[in-house]
């Protein structure tokens, strides 16, 4: 090759390697194919009568209510705060009156419900370019507007603590959970606000902001030109889209360190706060699941009552409505429940409260399993399943080994970690990497477990015990 052509060749290589985002391959995991993927169309959700903020959406939160029942509220008016961190406020997504404080077991507050007056009268907040603001000002604005809870902190997945300096911030802008919304579709026209949000977050950390994008479709350009972030593309089965896995691969959390995470549409809302000086509670929610007639994307408001969204779309029968996805979501009542604060996904599947005769020995053409002992794996490997909530067995002791490892792409021994939690061995829990995991990371372990061990429940208990040991 002539000399000048060689140098152009090397120039080409160097340039493309700088502009091409790194693709990180995730080998372990499991993609669960289900019926009821949302079609890529938008619909404006009907206005609901009530909107709620649910303390249950946040880990280890003890709420204290601010207004009294029937007090008027505007968009952005604080309605409750964290008893142990009073600067963390939660604000109303609509204007109207405080209608109801729903309580559950032992008088725990599960929902704070606002009756909507349809006017969307809003509080005013600080408006400005984050480049011109100090960290303090930015933090104050986020706290006052009630958007601070959008920032979660690892370990423990609690709401971020303002006095902790995170070593980095992670945003995963794609979701690999079953039936998850397609964020390339959702965020397509939100890039400017997203960039504003990134700029805000950039002021909160001295480290980097890592943006995880879908590596399965490298030609998609949404969010590719966001500045101030380190873009990495991840390719692999679920849980490749989980922020916890991305943290583990790029900037793992060691004892004493803290990483903050923010969901993509929350980044947009934060950006809008600083750009417009107002809390814009609009959000796109994918309504999915085998029990939904023509699943689609709803443009709605955070905390909306779920009933208007299900009207005319949910099929008859005993259904489970989940705010979130089937691996990480809260069950909500179809008539009275409200969608979660940061949830951009609703899944409706059939309840599995039926007996099946000799179910455990049946060939199982319609059953889904990570083991290969069902005919469905062999005959119809590309089948989309109609999964229900049946346990498919009873709870047993730990017997099979190697099941969890196949679906957890982390250098962690999940069974040993769970056993350390069960005997409350704090040192061992730390050594085995409990700081790096959250329920959504271990959700697939719970799904595949032959012994039906309540993995995520045990993990949450362990995180709770650890936090009270560490932080008193």
């Amino acid at each position: 090759m002539p000399v000048h052509k060689i140098s152009y060749f090397y120039l080409f290589i160097t340039v493309t390697s700088f502009t091409m985002a790194e693709v990180i391959k995730i080998k372990k995991g499991l993609d669960i194919q289900m019926k009821g993927q949302a079609e890529k169309i938008y619909a404006k959700a009907p206005r609901a009568e009530t909107y709620a903020v649910k303390p249950m959406d946040f880990q280890e939160l003890t709420p204290k209510i601010i207004p009294k029942l029937c007090d008027p509220v505007k968009v952005g008016t604080p309605i409750f705060y964290d008893k142990y961190n009073p600067e963390i406020k939660f604000t109303s997504p609509v204007s109207g009156t405080l209608k109801e404080i729903k309580r559950g077991e032992r008088r725990r507050i599960i929902e704070v419900v606002v009756e909507d007056d349809g006017k969307d009268t809003a509080e005013k907040f600080l408006q400005g370019d984050p480049a011109d603001l100090t960290r303090e000002q930015i933090v104050e604005n986020l706290l006052e507007s009630g958007l601070w809870p959008m920032i979660r902190q690892r370990p423990y997945s609690i709401i971020a603590r303002r006095d902790r300096k995170p070593k980095s911030i992670f945003i995963s802008a794609f979701d690999t959970a079953p039936l998850a919304p397609d964020y390339d579709f959702v965020l397509k026209d939100m890039e400017e606000d997203f960039q504003w949000g990134v700029n805000v977050l950039g002021k909160l950390t001295e480290g980097k902001i890592f943006l995880g994008l879908d590596g399965r479709y490298p030609s998609v350009q949404t969010l590719n030109s966001i500045k101030g972030v380190v873009i990495n593309r991840f390719k692999g089965p679920h849980p490749a889209g989980n922020v916890g896995i991305q943290i583990h691969k790029l900037d793992p959390i060691n004892k004493g360190e803290v990483v903050w995470t923010v969901r993509p549409q929350d980044v947009v809302t934060i950006g809008k706060l600083f750009k417009n000086g107002r809390y814009d509670p609009s959000i796109v929610v994918a309504l999915t699941g085998s029990r939904v007639e023509k699943p689609l994307y709803y443009k709605t408001i955070r905390g909306t009552a779920v009933a208007p969204l299900l009207e005319g779309k949910m099929m008859e029968g005993e259904n489970r409505v989940i705010s979130g996805n089937v691996l990480n979501g809260l069950k909500i009542d179809p008539a009275e429940g409200h969608v979660g604060f940061s949830d951009a996904h609703i899944t409706v599947i059939p309840e599995g409260n039926y007996y099946e005769m000799f179910g455990w020995i049946m060939p199982g053409l319609k059953k889904m399993s990570a083991s290969r002992s069902f005919m469905s794996t062999w005959l119809t490997p590309n089948q989309k399943f109609d999964l229900d909530t049946n346990y498919h067995g009873g709870e047993r002791a730990f017997v099979m080994t190697g099941e969890y490892d196949k679906v957890l792409p982390m250098d962690i021994f999940p069974v040993h970690l769970l056993k350390a939690i069960m005997v409350n061995d704090i040192d061992l829990m730390e050594e085995l990497g409990i700081y790096e995991v959250d329920e959504e990371d271990l959700a697939l372990c719970e799904f595949v477990c032959t012994s039906k061990t309540p993995v995520t429940k045990i993990l949450r208990q362990g995180l709770k015990n650890l936090r009270s040991e560490m932080e008193g």
């Binding site: 089937v326 809260l330 595949v448």
Partner: protein
């Protein structure tokens, strides 16, 4: 189906707490869940579950053992008639073997499940399905003429001492089926070794062809024979060893049938191929080493023959792979399996008291498995701590 379900729901009532038949609740539930997968639904953040459960997993292990069982049934008949010098048709042989082996299976399951039901009731738990597999494994490692009362005692010992005192299924350190066999081996050695017990009718002696020897191939090797013959003096071929037309414990002779079972276990994802492969690898390595330094006939047995003889293949596929007593980390499984293969052949060849070393090698490695796992985990922990130090700098 619906009427049966309604019937079961109705008769369930007295078994609940406070009811008259409460002390049989675990037993009732065992039968109920045998008939019906329960209607329990998920609570918590994970809303769906894999369709596979413990029952199904265990049943597939039993299915994988069926080829070895069927062959063993025929083989028992085949050798019996050979020893008696009588001609017999295929189905005659099968019927004979069935008559001798089926009672052993029944005793194993009845005694074992009875004890398991009792313990489950005492603890207030559901009956665990672990014994579905152990109950089939125990007969397959017995000599065909073993007295039934011995099977009962050994099963009781294995279930109570080998499993329940540790906390039941999932908590045991040793493989329960091997515990049963080891118990019999040390308590009643004349019934578990020698050259009469492996072929039905030899211990009794009536009608046996003159000069017929029921010695296994390994038994002959231990006597420093360099050629291995059957009872009638005919030399065994490698095909005999692979197919399994040799004397031995009920299920261990046919390498072919065992490999079929191995395929079932691996294809359905139930058995660990890592353990199976590493056991064979360890055995091969030790076999080669012994061949290299051979000073007697036993050491000179070609390494590949070792893999076909005795309980090696059966141990590798069905015993070493018991997930509870094996190493539980993926890396640990390689080490565990390899050491089993290595030690089994070593014990077999160099120890004059035991012509069969697989059982002891597996039991020994069962004891060491937690240690292997411990060091594998320490490795991961060290990596994590090192990373933390590097970050801090």
């Amino acid at each position: 189906m619906n009427s049966l379900r309604k019937f079961v729901t109705k008769i369930k009532v007295p078994f609940e707490k406070g009811g008259k038949l409460y002390m049989f609740k675990s037993t009732f539930e065992a039968f109920e869940t045998f008939l019906f997968v329960p209607d329990k639904v998920t609570t918590g953040r994970v809303h769906i579950r894999d369709a596979n459960d413990m029952k199904r997993t265990m049943i597939f292990v039993v299915i994988a053992m069926v080829p070895a069982l069927l062959f063993g049934i025929w083989n028992a008949g085949f050798h019996h008639f050979q020893a008696m010098g009588e001609d017999a048709g295929f189905w005659q042989m099968v019927w004979f073997g069935f008559k001798r082996i089926f009672p052993i299976i029944v005793v194993s399951y009845v005694v074992g499940l009875g004890i398991e039901f009792a313990f489950a009731q005492m603890r207030g738990h559901e009956v665990n399905e672990g014994f579905l597999v152990t109950g089939m494994l125990i007969p397959l490692v017995m000599p065909v003429d073993v007295p039934l009362w011995m099977v009962a005692v050994a099963t009781a010992f294995a279930v109570i001492i080998g499993k329940e005192v540790f906390g039941g299924t999932g908590m045991n350190i040793l493989n329960p089926a091997l515990t049963a066999r080891a118990f019999l081996f040390f308590a009643y050695p004349s019934w578990m070794s020698g050259d009469k017990v492996w072929i039905s009718g030899l211990t009794d002696g009536t009608g046996v062809v003159d000069g017929y020897s029921g010695a296994t191939i390994l038994g002959q090797a231990a006597l420093d024979h360099s050629q291995f013959v059957n009872g009638l003096g005919e030399v065994y071929t490698a095909w005999d060893m692979f197919l399994g037309t040799i004397p031995g414990s009920i299920g261990e002779t046919s390498t072919l049938a065992i490999l079929l079972g191995a395929m079932i276990l691996i294809l359905t994802g139930v058995g660990s191929w890592k353990i199976m492969l590493s056991v064979f690898a360890g055995g091969t390595v030790m076999g080669l080493l012994l061949n290299a330094f051979a000073v007697n006939a036993f050491m000179a047995i070609p390494f590949w023959q070792h893999l076909l003889l005795g309980g090696f293949a059966f141990g590798a596929v069905f015993m070493a792979t018991d997930p509870v007593s094996a190493a539980q980390t993926e890396r640990g499984k390689w080490i565990y399996g390899f050491l089993i293969g290595l030690l089994a052949i070593l014990i077999r060849v160099l120890n004059p008291a035991y012509p069969e070393g697989v059982m002891l090698a597996i039991l020994l490695m069962n004891v060491f498995a937690p240690l292997i796992d411990h060091y594998v985990i320490r490795g991961s922990v060290k990596r994590r701590l090192k990373r933390a130090k590097v970050q801090a700098i």
